[in-house]
Symmetry: D3
Subunit: 309 residues, 6 copies
């Protein structure tokens, strides 16, 4: 619980102050946050953690380091009581070009083993590990707001479909690239895209033809919930949404995320039973009284101080 992230800034509990202010943090981050080499972590506002995919010179392509750093990063965030919401974005000109083919090729495709069964065994283990890279986003109870600008290609789509709220710029485009390189997407897109978009026909078309989808279609299809003119307004918008979330009871917010994800994968009846069991203890929080009182007194929720979770 004494997290690497926090120690990276030499800070004590609750001291995270890597950036002077959110704007600077987001417009001019200086590079990855050690020990990470592909991710830059900052705390642009109270209770908000900003994770930036940071390999701009490589178009934020996902190399081997990235796949394991994501797991460490989100596992730490999940346990960090200071963090109540995450903003995820990409450094540089575009969100991400997807997998870094050059860096990745060897290991995954040609593991060293004595027969086809044994190669298959290892390939399966590798895929499972890579799936975890994005599943940690979903397992982290803190909501993740992803802000996409420019291109979001291949594994980038796998990544954003595991996030909770998707925002993008006018110039953003999305491409389910996997069929173009000879495989069925196996780290999230085929599993999650149909559950976040309302049109089965569109999902199939994107996945089977690898055509680009631009921001207007991303909005009308429901992939993103808002489109912004440019990256600056996008980041401001993402921060605003994150701020709204951060100001509310973490018991309410994280319980909401957990229930929404459970409901997606279960029947309504199962979802209701889960909610009743969840809330049999979660309603016994002081946050309820604090929030209700603020509401009755017409005070802003931002003035209420909630205990850490």
């Amino acid at each position: 619980m004494n997290s690497i992230i926090r120690s990276a800034f030499g800070g004590g509990r609750g001291l995270w102050r890597p950036a002077l202010n959110a704007v600077r943090a987001m417009s001019a981050s200086g590079g990855p946050t050690p020990p990470f080499t592909t991710l830059s972590i900052s705390q642009p506002a109270s209770h908000v953690t900003h994770v930036e995919l940071h390999r701009p010179e490589k178009r934020n392509a996902m190399n081997q380091a990235f796949w394991s750093e994501m797991i460490d990063c989100f596992n730490q965030i999940a346990e960090d009581p200071e963090c109540r919401v995450v903003v995820f974005s990409g450094a540089g000109k575009l969100f991400t070009a997807g997998i870094d083919l050059m860096d990745m090729a060897g290991g995954l495709l040609r593991p060293d083993a004595d027969d086809t069964a044994r190669i298959s065994w290892k390939v399966r283990q590798t895929i499972s590990k890579y799936q975890e890279t994005f599943s940690v986003i979903e397992k982290c109870p803190k909501p993740v707001v992803v802000a996409v600008h420019g291109a979001c290609v291949g594994a980038g789509v796998d990544l954003i479909t595991a996030c909770d709220i998707r925002l993008c710029t006018q110039d953003a485009w999305f491409q389910v690239k996997e069929v173009d390189i000879g495989l069925a997407a196996d780290v999230g897109t085929l599993q999650r895209l149909p559950k976040v978009i309302g049109s089965g026909s569109l999902v199939n078309e994107l996945a089977l033809t690898a055509r680009k989808m631009y921001s207007d279609e991303a909005k009308s299809s429901g992939l993103v919930s808002r489109v912004f003119p440019d990256k600056e307004t996008l980041m401001a918008g993402a921060m605003e949404v994150a701020g709204e979330i951060a100001s509310r009871s973490p018991v309410a917010v994280q319980g909401t995320k957990i229930n929404l994800i459970f409901s997606r994968d279960h029947s309504v009846k199962e979802g209701l039973d889960f909610a009743a069991m969840w809330n049999m203890s979660m309603l016994q929080t002081d946050d309820l009284m604090k929030s209700a009182q603020a509401a009755l007194e017409k005070k802003s929720i931002k003035q209420v101080v909630f205990s850490k979770l």
Copy 2:
């Protein structure tokens, strides 16, 4: 089966005539229908039951009486052979302000018990009971058309997501309010909203930030299927949709609702098996021949008389 609703009007089987005509029934209902204190029940047209949430002076806030009256009301409607479709709306200036915090606070949150386990046990029972208030809408095999005007807040969203068809006025707005008062929604919104709207990102944003959604976004996201200029046209539109449904075979209509709800929560294969088993007897209805004959003779379905179900 000798229903309270019917007896409330002193009527015999099939006699329900509380209102002279639909228009009056809907524009000027005089108050709750005894024994109900929060619901006004009328029969504006043949086979159509109108249920109106009727606490206009309290912005239709849901008090303790409401939560149990809904269960009685819809259980009776489910068994009333005269009713084939329900229109649900709110009296006064807006649809509903949601839960009546003043009236509800005590019981739910602080049950009297000897330790945390025992308090939790009771809270779970209470939540389950409250969930039933809206689940009865879904269990009732008659389709429920909900007409929303003005505000639909908090538990109001839980309510409408349990209805089958959602219509609203231009000035309607919707707000998933629960995070604002410190809890994860547990009576339907988190379970049903993701299954009635096509955009996962939007669902999450609404539930995590409690922001308002207006009618245009409600339409484009698919929450409602039609928007009307004002309450009068809304109610006329709701009545028209209800009339279309009421004129069709109740065996066909109610079987359709039952199959749609089953399909939502099961795989396509399971849904098909269910439909085959359902229709092995339901196709043995005279309604099939009556309907087919009307179709062949180009007669309006409204002229066909179907037996009660």
Copy 3:
């Protein structure tokens, strides 16, 4: 494996040349392809099979022959290594008027048996058989692009919801007709429509009122992913989409379809486990290297030659 389709054209393995070119094949098909009496089969482009519902004089109404010919046709397509994608359309003025009531009535509704239980037993068998008519589309691992012009009524909606990609003309309209003839739809619409469209309210409204939905609403609701001005542009558009799919690795494309359909009916976790198991062998394909190399060399995927699957 020595398929009827192929032998119908007297061709050897890989010789299918029924049509001189795609345009002619699609604008002027001369009639059903023996032994079929309701379907016309052609190969308008490399690896693309065109299946045309061909009873134009009967508005492509689905008679008894159709229901079994579809099963034979798609089972053969599933095993035909030359075919990588299917385009499905209707001959003549409209896509289909749905079930051919005149031709179908007897058998289904009044099977000869000694009591209600035994009649029900037979009805259930019949429905299961009819369900298979459209389920074969889904079981066939090759993607099916359906092109709808004019009317798509009743069982036509059951059919298209089982296809992967839906396109239509400006003048197309869709009607879930079953309640109008006294039954709950039991061959696919109630099971699949809610899973291909994002608005629960709209699905319910369509299924419960049998109202027509026009192409603009079909597009905004996500039923179709593109709308074309007329049938000619529609068919060209369908061919283009099909061409994109046909040019990609069949291992990638068919694996994508299989994973998408599995994901629709399972939780995200189950879908990910399935994908890992699927790809443990499928990644060991030469197509991966061929595709990746083409991508790196900036060559068109259309120039890559993939082995048959």
Copy 4:
């Protein structure tokens, strides 16, 4: 919560003293306990409720009254804080001869309706209601120990498979009777018997041939967990088991029943997740400390006083 059962004895909260002692209560119950006409209710020991099927002159055949009285009875027991465990047995010479065909025939089999579909609709409602008669045993969180002597026929098997612990006398025999009267069992046996017995072959043989199974096979197959020489020792044994259960923490005991039933119908993973969520509040009970302390002090659990649940 002001239960009929308790008021039947004129007692206040916690005063239930219908019988002088357990032995007498069970050997000489004088008849049904009003308002029940088929069930005799007593409290033979502290926290133990004894429900006796009491139509000895009719071989405890299940008439129309029985089917609804069971529901009332177990719903009340579920809410009675004094009761922690139930013993269920039959009065007179045998446990039960099953359904009372004479009394039941009319209603179920020939409901009055206009066509086959409508008859089927009503039959389905009736079956669901009858299923509830035994499902209430399972829904009641207090464990139910059933003691079978002599014959247990037809619906008797449906009943006992819904109980938690099954004990019997040497002379007991069991018969899945339904195929003998022309139907597939539909109120529990076919659903629960395979889940309480370890041999699929035996379950199928019993259900398909309606042969009798005697106590030794009932024991070796696991249907019952103990066999006693005669009814007197059986009832003493049932009381002893019930006493063991009644003396333990009701939070622990009822949580155990709820978790066992959940686990039966779910995967191990789902069962573990459920248990973690259940115990996140249930471990916060004083019973834990009281029980642990008694264990450490080598005191009998029977000396510990637990709060009501």
Copy 5:
């Protein structure tokens, strides 16, 4: 529906009289019944079909012909209205030595294809086809009583776990052989054995060590429900069980099998819902009245004549 089986004996509908009596039919069958080459079909008693695995000179090893003949055979039996129950046994000295390695090796293990992915694709199709060989037993609504004498090895265990009732001789032994030849069993044993035997530890031990299990352990573990001294008494016993089943209402018997199999794979709640839906039409059978009347009149069920199903 004009079944091969029946025509093989030149008989008309209902005339099947291949054997003078059951004893002779079963002790001295002259060989496979054309067109089958591995199965001998006879009708030893009214409504009873006897299927004998008939390659005694090869120890009833399962060759390529067997795998497809089983599918044809049971699909025909499923539709044959004369048949109400099946007895399955092996000709010669033992039940079956399992798969015929010599005959099978080539095709399955080394399909001809261009890369590992394509080989895997074909292997999966082949396994699915082989699985169907035993799944047809389960899909056939008529109960199958299997009588095992001597050895039952490898695929023999896959076969018998798909049957409904298992009987054996004292000298019978069972062996899950697959790990001995380097594979995980994939045509039924690992899927069904844990659901027909009560001991997880035993199932695992048998499957992981390939040790033999003898008849006494087969009985005590519940794999078989009865053990007979020798093959003659076994066959007489199997015929008696089959006779009991054949004499009962086919609506009741086949409904019972269908419900039992559904229940095995679903929760109790789902099983009950299925049963209610199944019986809403199936209770409307004349068999119910015929059976009930026979019961009331104390007549043997064998005297009742039921319509065909």
Copy 6:
């Protein structure tokens, strides 16, 4: 993959030689294997790993160290290519007395947090972590043979139900202890016991009354598959079973375990689909040919050399 276990013995890949021979290794292990403090690890025979619970002076009670060491231990075993099967047993006079109440009490029951909701949140995390302690046994693809002597109490039952094969001594007894200390078992017993034992009544009786079950009932109920006279013969028996497993193809053995566990939690149809997908690559192993050839040549499987997995 350079495992702690192996390095603990200073050995290189494949060199594990901590004990001169199996007998000595198992009768006289000198204490825990560093870095473990509660587990002693040895390799008594080729490909066999012996894990011994080693706190004999504390009756092998499970302290805080144990709960995390188990996770490390089995995760390493899962990845150790030398290990093909595990034998698990307890050092000293008995298998285990269950949880070490003294050592555990603090942390779990009274986490430090600001309100009931936050305490519950932490309790849930803790339970999940403890569940993992036994779930790792199940996730490890190598079969685990557990050998129980003397007492197996409380969490000991949770542990052994997660193992694959259970053996015990004559003097062994088992006790589901949790209700005695005021809680519902939440780390495996209630979830797995019903799936490894055939008698629902017995499972419930054990869990609800905490009564002891002795070895004879453990055998007849199927909890264990064999009983041995004393610990020495038990360990020899466990080693023999392990030796049988270790000598077979690891592809076959581990695939069998994986399929058996999948099947336990899924329908037969799902289990068959999983097996087909699993074996599409796993049948492409050289082990198949090696094993088959040995079988044809009547050579012992123990002579065959399989590649590592």
